[in-house]
Symmetry: C2
Subunit: 414 residues, 2 copies
């Protein structure tokens, strides 16, 4: 029986097949995401992987449904596996924001789902690090969030030679849009943003045609991009990040605009410096979303970013920044004399109680086979009960051997 | 907008509402589950939360569908959110077992889903610690798995006063069934097991009637239960656990039989000693399942247990074994003089780079308000930049204050 297309099996390393994913690498990434969040005092939250469909269409319009993993449940509810975390966050914050001092700094590591019919070999799920600040409109919050993004990537060993944060502004583009044409429907503005978003991936002629249909010249657009003049907000953020010593990780780049309709201010994306991969992370301000999701009841400015596990993993692999994942056994207990199995089990129990990762042969096995297994598991030590009172301990690296009293064995394993 | 019935929102503590769940407590439980697994050298794996429906009906029959969160996806596939992890594990092991030395010792922390229409206020999802040993038929494997179960509960601070593992045997019941009646269809045996499984929750008269329909007397059944005579396998397991010093956590109790059809040998459940809660965990041998799931291609003996987060959390709460979850801020950086915000940001960055959890006022705030916030966050220290060169550090517990050189500040925070 096969798993569903677009889904992943996560195995312990060493991986059995090119088609499988590493559970160890996933946990390594999750641990780093959590650890950086802790240093920035972001608190963890989570919501259901399944939500009312309406939560997502309210935010993104009915056209999103074509990309969703949605269905009708047995209670005749229109539901969907979550394609992103922000609507759930907005729902949760709106429900209980009074309990929390502002700004709220939260993160989550949700698994997200998309279903597009035309996909071939593309993943239908991934994990995403989501970090958000809610209740603060000052650009100091944008700087704090971008600093978290930068330090998250640095925690993996990535440097300013490896990645760059491209910083842009929906406001600046809005001014450009409104300054160049008579005010028009927001629909046309959305269309305009979509064209800018796809600028780098679209043939020039096509972009030119689409822009002129909206009353813009590609020359004006390019000039605006090249001018790269930061808005007051962006200037503020750059100064803040420079004070932290993070200035070299950021550059203004107006080609970034983010496709999603709900961004309202500063937007940004993290890219590998060589431009070989898709964006590592993206985010921005969405000051109207909490109000929208709460049906007008709660109005809080907000901003956030999302970082997926798939592109990050590709980059860490390419840069040689993934550690080797072993079983990490501390002690392999050899049982060469079956009459000593009972005291061996006692030793195993005591060593585990002392915090060591311990493995041993479940059933009788030849001494050389046991030792080979200890080596395969990269055990740091072997321990062999020699009598009810003594244990022989061997350091597999230094090859030092000592005989310790039974109760004292754990002290010789540090 | 509301979340779906039966699903949970996980918030950072302090919790805003009785209807919400603690993301901190969840992470606390996950960490302990992972930590105990590490000491026992169980490796983590995971599969998709959505699987082909057939994976679950192959194992449990078509009647399981009434309890599943199943639907038809956009590609016309019959799919289901996973109600349990074992079929996914069997699928994954069958696909790549040759890559792994036996016995395979694996664990997972999946979120599982059930949809029963008649549920009112009952959860439709929970998290479960799943640990399994595959490829070893010796009862030594059963003992190793039960030891892991016991130590997992002990890691939370639970003792033999708090819980007991009730150990039973499908084989013993099978012998009883076959010894008392002429051999018959396995369907009648399954019915018989269902009656025994529900013995404690069913009125005596009803049990009597059902048993006699299958040709059994309740007196014989009760006598068998009370005899409590361990099989050779159970004897073996008891001795093994006794050698580890864990004998007092286990007792033979033939009332345990486990409802699920696929168990083949030893079965067990963990209960709180006072009998106030539903079972904390349950498991047993399922030696035929890998063969069944792999369509006969792979034949490996196996056993495992599952421990849900909901009952465990109830017991930990009742026993006062949940720690207080705070923000765990190490340092709150006070910014009382806005002209020193830039060097303050530099200090914040350096302290976070040194591994400290650091919070600070994003925007100008009155000194007393800042200090109050530091206290609310249970910060261990405050740090205040006094010039480009000096930092005043205050230990909020001892109230000791020192002035340190800027570069030296981190050394005064241990």
């Amino acid at each position: 029986m096969e798993r569903l297309p677009g889904f992943r099996d996560f195995y312990p390393e060493p991986l059995p097949h090119a088609d499988t994913w590493s559970a160890d690498a996933r946990q390594f990434i999750f641990d780093k995401w959590r650890e950086t969040s802790r240093r920035y005092n972001f608190r963890e939250y989570d919501g259901p992987p399944l939500e009312p469909l309406e939560l997502f269409t309210t935010k993104s319009g009915e056209e999103i449904v074509g990309q969703l993993y949605n269905f009708t449940d047995k209670g005749e509810r229109a539901v969907s596996l979550r394609p992103e975390m922000t609507p759930t966050l907005a729902r949760m914050v709106a429900a209980h924001e009074r309990n929390y001092k502002k700004p709220i700094k939260w993160f989550a590591l949700p698994q997200l789902f998309r279903y597009e019919r035309q996909q071939k070999g593309r993943l239908r799920e991934h994990f995403q690090f989501n970090a958000d600040i809610i209740g603060e409109s000052d650009p100091a919050a944008d700087a704090e969030l971008i600093a978290l993004l930068i330090d998250t990537l640095r925690t993996f060993g990535l440097t300013e030679q490896d990645f760059v944060i491209r910083l842009s502004s929906r406001n600046a583009w809005q001014e450009f849009f409104q300054g160049s044409t008579p005010p028009d429907s927001s629909m046309r503005e959305y269309e305009f943003f979509q064209i800018i978003d796809k600028l780098e991936r679209t043939p020039k002629e096509e972009t030119e045609k689409k822009l002129s249909a909206l009353g813009f010249s590609i020359a004006d657009v390019n000039q605006f991009i090249e001018s790269g003049k930061p808005t007051a907000d962006l200037e503020n953020i750059l100064q803040n990040l420079a004070a932290r010593g993070l200035g070299s990780f950021v550059k203004i780049d107006y080609r970034v605009i983010r496709g999603l309709a709900y961004y309202t201010g500063v937007v940004f994306e993290a890219f590998d410096a060589k431009g070989e991969f898709r964006a590592i992370a993206g985010g921005g301000r969405y000051d109207n979303l909490v109000k929208l999701i709460s049906g007008g009841k709660v109005n809080l400015p907000a901003l956030g970013f999302g970082m997926g596990d798939v592109v990050l993993l590709e980059i860490l692999k390419a840069r040689g920044l993934l550690p080797k994942f072993d079983a990490n056994v501390d002690v392999f207990v050899l049982i060469e004399d079956e009459s000593l199995r009972a005291p061996s089990l006692k030793l195993i129990q005591e060593l585990r109680a002392a915090g060591f990762a311990v493995e041993y042969p479940l059933t009788p096995a030849k001494p050389d086979k046991q030792f080979k297994r200890a080596q395969e598991l990269k055990a740091a030590f072997t321990a062999k009960v020699e009598s009810e009172s003594y244990v022989r301990i061997r350091n597999l690296k230094s090859r030092d051997e000592i005989v310790a009293g039974f109760a004292d064995a754990a002290n010789h394993l540090r």
